[in-house]
């Protein structure tokens, strides 16, 4: 009786209360039913997940009714999610430029569609130049060339195309592309230097360091930047490992055996300006100690290190 009086006072009737209760009950039931259905949903067929895109770039552009920029962003984000999901499912750390084992066959069509919808969107071309060569090098070259055709003044794309050719050890084409990029107004002077470098020492670590350094400086995409940073760490680590091997070899020549622990050559390593940890082990560029392998006659990266193995 009292409750009824209260309800009337606040302009709420018993019927309103019942309706609110029904709405809350309904919402709870919807959430529970959705959970139940999701839990019993059969796993998605991987073949269906990797099904080719129904609409190609040009058709998508026609059907976008002026919303092509937004659609290009959606395809771009879909590309990133696609690669991200595959990397997460692998449960191990792989560099962005070595994703060949992930079966990313939808990546090229996704990036192609994104760039067809918005030909001036530079980031998908850069992403294609970095990620696609390990999956489908011809597609990587085609998409990057498409980017150059659509953006003839974007010298960064010449750098990316030169990078693809350099990776394939096609130093002649790489040098030619760097040379063409260097002619673009506003292109940095190092593009011309890179052309000369490709002709003389295309396969050297110095050239690789220069390429990744420039990529790190110029990349607009954070993932590409991170990949370049890790490749630079790897190059530093390769130099360090050469030095450590020299020290190990000098030690074994002097003593007739390889060291059983880092402590035995700690002084030599410190003299070569290596940073060492408490056990005397030298640290790689990411700060992780190197391991002694082959009974102390060689050194290698720790599997936990951030430095890429390949």
């Amino acid at each position: 009786m009292k409750m009824e009086a209260n309800l009337k006072q606040s302009n709420w009737t018993r019927r309103d209360a019942v309706l609110v209760f029904a709405i809350i009950l309904g919402l709870t039931s919807v959430v529970m039913t959705s959970h139940w259905i999701d839990a019993r949903r059969p796993p998605v067929d991987p073949a269906l997940e990797e099904e080719r895109l129904y609409v190609n770039g040009q058709s998508a552009k026609r059907l976008s009714f002026g919303f092509n920029g937004l659609l290009a962003d959606w395809y771009w984000m879909r590309s990133l999610q696609y690669v991200g999901r595959k990397i997460i499912s692998l449960r191990s750390d792989v560099p962005l430029d070595d994703l060949g084992s992930l079966n990313l066959k939808l990546l090229a069509p996704l990036l192609d569609t994104s760039t067809a919808l918005d030909p001036q969107f530079i980031e998908p071309y850069e992403y294609a130049a970095v990620v696609l060569p390990s999956i489908d090098v011809n597609e990587a070259i085609r998409i990057t060339k498409k980017g150059i055709d659509a953006n003839p003044l974007a010298w960064r794309l010449y750098h990316q195309l030169g990078y693809i050719y350099w990776q394939q050890r096609d130093f002649k084409n790489a040098g030619e592309i760097y040379g063409r990029g260097a002619e673009i107004p506003g292109a940095p002077a190092w593009m011309e230097a890179m052309k000369a470098r490709m002709a003389v020492e295309g396969g050297s670590r110095g050239t690789a360091r220069e390429i990744y350094l420039r990529m790190y400086e110029q990349a607009g995409d954070d993932q590409v930047k991170d990949m370049a940073r890790r490749r630079l760490l790897q190059l530093d680590s390769l130099d360090q490992r050469d030095l450590i091997r020299n020290e190990l070899s000098a030690y074994s020549n002097k003593t007739g055996h390889c060291p059983t622990s880092w402590r035995e050559i700690e002084v030599l390593l410190r003299a070569s300006r290596f940073q060492v940890d408490a056990s005397g082990a030298p640290l790689d560029p990411s700060g992780t100690p190197y391991r002694l392998v082959k009974n102390g006659c060689d050194t290698d990266l720790d599997p936990k290190s951030e430095v890429p193995y390949k």
């Binding site: 026609r62 009714f65 002026g66 937004l70 962003d73 984000m77 990133l80 999610q81 918005d118 995409d221």
Partner: protein, 284 residues
Amino acid sequence: MSRKRTVKTVAATRLENPESPTRAAAWRRIAAIARNAFREAVRDRVLYNLVLFVLLLIVGAIFLGELSGGQERKVIVDLGLSAMLLFGVFISIFVGVGLVYKEIERRTVYAIFSKPIGRGEFLLGKYLGLCLTLFVNVVVMGAGVSLALVYVRRGWDPLALRIWPAILLIYVELMILTGVALLFSSFSSPALSALLTFFLFLIGHFSADLKNLATSMGSTGARWLFGALYYLLPNLANYSYITPAAHGQTPDATNVLAALLYAVIYISMILASATLIFSRRNFK
């Protein structure tokens, strides 16, 4: 002599242009109808869509950075301007088709036309009223996108200014679409008018394909048909500048002026057609 000439000139002008004093009154009547159409739109809570738009932008500004790989500025412009166009299209269509129909349905049209108001004035006033609503809508949304860009950049972003020519073009596109909606609603039911206007919006973005079809067709008849459709239907692709705007590009001034001229001509033509049809309509 001089005084005589002056009196004669004024009298002659009045004789040659007997409507000149009434023209000002006509514009006052149009302005009154436009004001009322704007008030009606505000009363109908049309501007509430701005709340949804602001929410969309806030969510976009916060979460898109993570999803887009550092491309949040481009995505905010694409998302903001596309939403502006889409919301504007829905307002143009759904409010535009009801502008005339509601007056007929409520029989207020009899009260209006019992006063010295021409049917053309009525249509023009309604049209300008909805254009004013869209103008407020577009300006607030544009300011929202600019603020979102400043927020994302944590400081001044030149893109916040560079998007405004594209916003102007979106507004002009919406003005054309409103005219089309008004034209259809002058002789058809709201549902059919909405459908036809929406189709015209879609076809308007296919105009390049219509021209290609016209040139590639084998038969002369088909060539003529698609050629005629290309020129007859509004070429809304002229106003699609969202994607370049997201890259910080501004349209060429000559192109903008040409697009504005096209819009003025097209809208005048549509409103003239609407007036022609509406003035022959029997409300019994």
